[in-house]
Symmetry: C2
Subunit: 690 residues, 2 copies
């Protein structure tokens, strides 16, 4: 590490330079400093993670309330490292004082698998004689081992091996040519890799053997499409430009846009972390969320045959949504005027690394924000909306997850996730029965049923920390048709159920009542509606966890058993399947099941966290192959009784006429976008004209 970098860290810490925001991820210099400080005491280590230890919330809230007089929370590095021999350590390094303040050895725990860990397996596997033997049995000559690939996954949990040894399972594939998509050529056996020994220690071989697929390659790269008739040529460009720049301001990592302010953090596990989300309500800065992020996900596969039960990746906890994040590209991943943020990580050797353009921040037109026409005189107002999108994309072996945090002018926060990439596939024999556990998406290719279940951690701060959650169910009024209280039978209302305790809050989605959940501040009553200030969670893609109670997935992914859990706030409770997820047995279950053990713990009118599991169940079809069109899913956090009126009324309209203007034929407001054109049609050639 260069001396001047250390100096710059020292400057940050001592205050002679512009200090980082306490929520800022560790910089490269801070990562390097943390490693140097730790290295002095504990020698050479394999680094798994060096990331920001976020400040304690009580301390941070004080500083946010008065950053002039309250001391700035100090910078602490949270470190996970593996010592030679395989011992795993959790450590904390105080960067200001240059001290290791925690250094705990962990037993029976495996930290997540890094990209470097993943990269190793393929090289080892290709040289392993037993793997080569299996490839030959599958129909691949031994001299073609360079055409054999694997997607290494954590082993999940396999009772035969436990969790004292760091393991990966190698999902095997073949590529006739190095540019061919391997997912059309899955192999039927599964080597187990020992990360400490760097060797294959076992191979799971099915009873029924399925030789390598003889179908022709099924590709999506340019040469393959050109060979199959070429690209369509009838898509005309759509240009999106912002000649006057963007409508947001960036100060460090704080984005200021349309009354919203949000700090954009990023870490190796969750990817984007949004902190201290506030809304400037006519001069009053009102807190809404202290922290929002995706904290975990699990992807259980539904084929009951061994060893497919091991396929239930926790893509965040076992691999890291930050570590797997893509370096984004201008004009590819997003269009318009783009602000990128880089991400700093540590590598195995302890050096800081950078993923350029890890986070994309940009605006998009959002269509009609509101409109009304008076049918009497056609006086009309139409206002177009804008949205701010903070996004990253991560690649989990075969799959891609595109995560979009969207801020709207009406006070809504939307989370949209697009699933794309490639199906995980397994070999099948010609004519083999999939038994309903998968779909033959291409000859010889079985794509198994699976779920993508995400866990959204919402740390609400609705007009302050003391919040309460209500379940809201659209319900029929009491009384049958003809009764005094409901003579016409049309009565219905929003049935509100207050969650007083942790047990009461364990809840599922109810499609019959279009169930939503309100996060309220009962101390802040809306002056018009006399209802508490709140944000409503509106989420409709909420499948239940399909693996059964008592199953391995059910035990390991305790968070996914229900759509909503609410817990009292605790600085230590971030990851709902546990801090170190690989090779957890689920006995006992880590994370949320531990935190809700005291079911009587009160959760009303205090600092709480709402954990929401949502997602989709995916039954593959040939349309999803060889690369999957993006499948979107979305949820909303909507202000209800938070504002006294539509907060976007002061967004300038495109057009506004009033009855008096219509009657007197006087000038109306016309600010319609002048770049829009009429299409002129004729003779098959369409062009545009004003």
């Amino acid at each position: 590490m260069a001396l001047d970098r250390l100096k710059s860290v020292a400057q940050h810490v001592t205050g002679t330079g512009p200090p980082p925001h306490p929520f800022d991820p560790l910089s490269n210099a801070e990562i390097d400093a943390a490693v140097q400080i730790l290295g002095k005491e504990h020698g050479q280590l394999h680094y798994n993670a060096v990331t920001l230890r976020e400040p304690a919330k009580t301390e941070m809230l004080k500083w946010l309330a008065d950053s002039v007089n309250i001391p700035r929370p100090s910078r602490v590095a949270d470190i996970v490292a593996i010592a030679p021999g395989g011992k795993v350590y959790d450590g904390l390094v105080d960067l200001k004082n240059g001290k290791v303040i925690k250094w705990d050895v962990l037993e029976g725990v495996q930290p997540l698998i890094t990209m470097e860990d993943l990269q190793t397996v393929e090289h080892v596997m290709r040289k392993d004689p037993k793997v080569i033997e299996q490839c030959v049995i599958s129909g691949i000559p031994a001299e073609d081992m360079h055409k054999v690939y694997c997607d290494p996954w954590t082993i999940g949990y396999d009772h035969r091996f436990g969790n004292s040894v760091r393991l990966q399972q190698a999902l095997m594939y073949y590529r006739p040519h190095m540019d061919d998509s391997q997912y059309s050529f899955p192999l039927d056996f599964c080597p187990i890799f020992d990360a400490d020994k760097a060797e294959i220690i076992h191979i799971d071989i099915p009873d029924i053997r399925r030789p390598v697929n003889q179908a022709k390659p099924n590709n999506y790269h340019v040469a393959s499409i050109e060979n199959e008739g070429g690209y369509r040529t009838d898509i005309k460009p759509i240009n999106i430009t912002q000649p006057e720049g963007v409508s947001f301001k960036v100060e460090g990592r704080v984005i200021d846009w349309q009354n919203w302010k949000v700090h954009v953090g990023f870490n190796y596990k969750e990817g984007i972390v949004l902190n201290n989300i506030t809304y400037n309500d006519k001069g009053t800065v009102r807190p809404i969320f202290y922290r929002l992020s995706l904290v975990e996900m699990v992807v259980p596969y539904g084929n009951p045959e061994h060893p497919h039960q091991r396929k239930h990746a926790f893509d965040l906890g076992e691999y890291g949504g930050g570590y797997m994040t893509n370096s984004l590209s201008l004009g590819c991943d997003c269009k318009g005027a783009i602000h990128y943020m880089d991400a700093a990580f540590v590598n195995r050797a302890g050096e800081s690394t950078t993923i350029k353009n890890a986070v994309c921040i940009h605006e998009e037109d959002a269509g009609i924000l509101f409109k009304h026409t008076d049918f009497r005189d056609e006086s009309c107002l139409v206002t177009r909306g804008r949205k701010l999108i903070i996004s990253h994309i991560f690649t989990a072996a075969n799959y891609e997850y595109c995560v979009y945090w969207i801020f709207h002018q009406d006070g809504t926060v939307q989370l949209e996730i697009k699933l794309t990439g490639i199906l995980n596939t397994y070999a099948m024999l010609p004519g083999e029965d999939t038994k309903g556990w998968g779909t033959e998406v291409y000859p010889g290719v079985n794509a198994h049923n699976h779920q993508h279940l995400f866990c959204l951690r919402i740390d609400p701060n609705i007009d302050g920390s003391n919040n309460t959650v209500f379940q809201v169910d659209a319900s029929q009024g009491a009384g049958e048709v003809g009764s005094k209280e409901n003579p016409y039978g049309n009565a219905f209302f929003a049935k509100r159920t207050k969650y007083n305790t942790v047990s009461e809050a364990i809840s599922d989605y109810d499609g019959v009542t279009s169930r939503t959940w309100d996060m309220c501040n009962e101390n802040k009553i809306n002056p018009y509606s006399h209802k508490p200030s709140s944000y409503k969670l509106v989420s409709r893609e909420v499948p239940r966890l399909l693996p059964k109670e008592g199953s391995l997935v059910w035990k390991r992914a305790g968070f996914a058993r229900h759509a909503v859990h609410v817990t009292p706030y605790d600085d230590e409770q971030l990851y709902p399947a546990g801090r170190h997820v690989p090779q957890t047995s689920g006995e006992p279950s880590k994370g949320i099941p531990e935190w809700i053990a005291n079911g009587d713990a009160p959760i009303d009118n205090r600092d709480i966290v709402l954990w929401h599991t949502f997602g989709i169940t995916h039954f593959p079809a040939p349309e999803d192959f060889p690369i999957m069109p993006a499948e979107p899913m979305t949820l909303l956090l909507r202000p209800r009784n938070f504002f006294t009126k539509n907060p976007a009324l002061d967004v300038p309209p495109s057009y506004c006429s009033t009855p008096s203007q219509i009657a007197s034929k006087s000038k109306v407001t016309d600010a319609a976008d002048k770049m829009s054109k009429l299409v002129v049609t004729g003779g098959g050639a369409e062009c545009c004209q004003k």
Copy 2:
């Protein structure tokens, strides 16, 4: 009617000019001709509707299959008219032969309320002495009757008045100034208007009186916003341009875009009607839907007190989504390159009228269509998508419905609806208890709970007319954890239930199983998956009808009792609450309840129609007032086992590199959008730079 217009109709009919497509709405000339033909036989009438009688499906399918040799289906006008005295007639006029081919008088039936019908009420109401008396009681001086307004609604059904007299109920409002939003000043009484007599025949007066609101106006027009601090000034323009024109071709009303072809019809009731939707699958034109449209909706309100039970508008069947459609404006309602279509209607006097720019057709960038990165070498493909949007917006008194039919390159058809406009409101006293039936959204303003339930009519044509519907439920596999068939408890599958009969198909949404519905052609099996070619209905906003069984709404809106009904195809079955909806009693229920009376009727492997009810339940909040930020809802029709692979693989990528290109450092495909820019930040002023 001018002679040359009649000539042009004659030319169309006799084939000397370019004939209209059989699905084309009647032109102005055709409407005028129909009226002239009918007038000759039946004299002066009040016209309610003159619209296309769509060709019989069997005839039309033959013509679509061979439009060269099969005779073109003739043009027939479907006419609803009211004779002096109030008699209602349904008629058909053959435009080719100039003959009235049907003229039926109807008993106990009221056709929908036109905009002209609506406009009359306010003028009559203002002069009515009893209404003036009630206004005075409400605190409005008699000389201020020009400040009193009403939104006339059909009466729905009121047993006191039955359906032999044509009635409207006048929801009353006051405007302190003509530009003030009346919805902040609802009045508490409700006059009943007799359309035949053009007079007020009754006033419903509540037991508890609520004088006119004394709160200050709550407006959204330009002057009001400027008085309250003005507009925000920090939104920079986003320009969307298509310098080379659009990617679609227009031939008459057939749109040809990205392998899709669709005929865009329009009528007074449904608004947009999409016919003969096909996809060119590598040279084979495959039919998907014969007809898609919104055919009905009902908006029940949840306040049980008289006379609010009458508030349950059927906005399509009682007013017409076409009649209420907005004339759209370039750069306001949509941005980019826009193709508009006009709509031709008849007025009460029998003259043809035109709504300019009733339908908007344009493209939008659709973000990432698919992406995958190989974690080994970062070889990557990223392809951006495009969508085609066919939209219209209609104003139903206070509310606005924005209807977007969206075609995607991956074969998906999406229906998105945005709800905006203004809440229906009722008067309340200071401190009055809403009893949970509504929300005080502004002092003295009670916005009642309500539902918006839409009925989507899907006439599937999946690789031909013989289709079958399956219910699909994500289900756990048999066997408990540890059993032989499900040792790890992770088994799950798509449980498919075939609907053999009309009764079996009566079904609700099930959130627990993430229920979807497949429309299949069991005669066309996907060569890879061995499953039938199908389109899947994916719809998650599916509240149940909250008015109880046996209630007035339940009786009148039979279609809304369940999320899905399937019926054998019948040319006469278009409108699921009946052809003439106002003042139906629901005894017996019209439409779907009649059509499913024979529950044993087979619906497998034949020409069928799927009716889908979806929507939202709206519990108002102050954020929705005085004008509501658009609330979106969406559903998808997705190809499953229809294609043999992702049909959008030939969409040119923004970027593509392969492992061999990465390894050899050779040229990759880089077609990233060159208009996108980096944001340069600093000093609070953000601009853009390449």
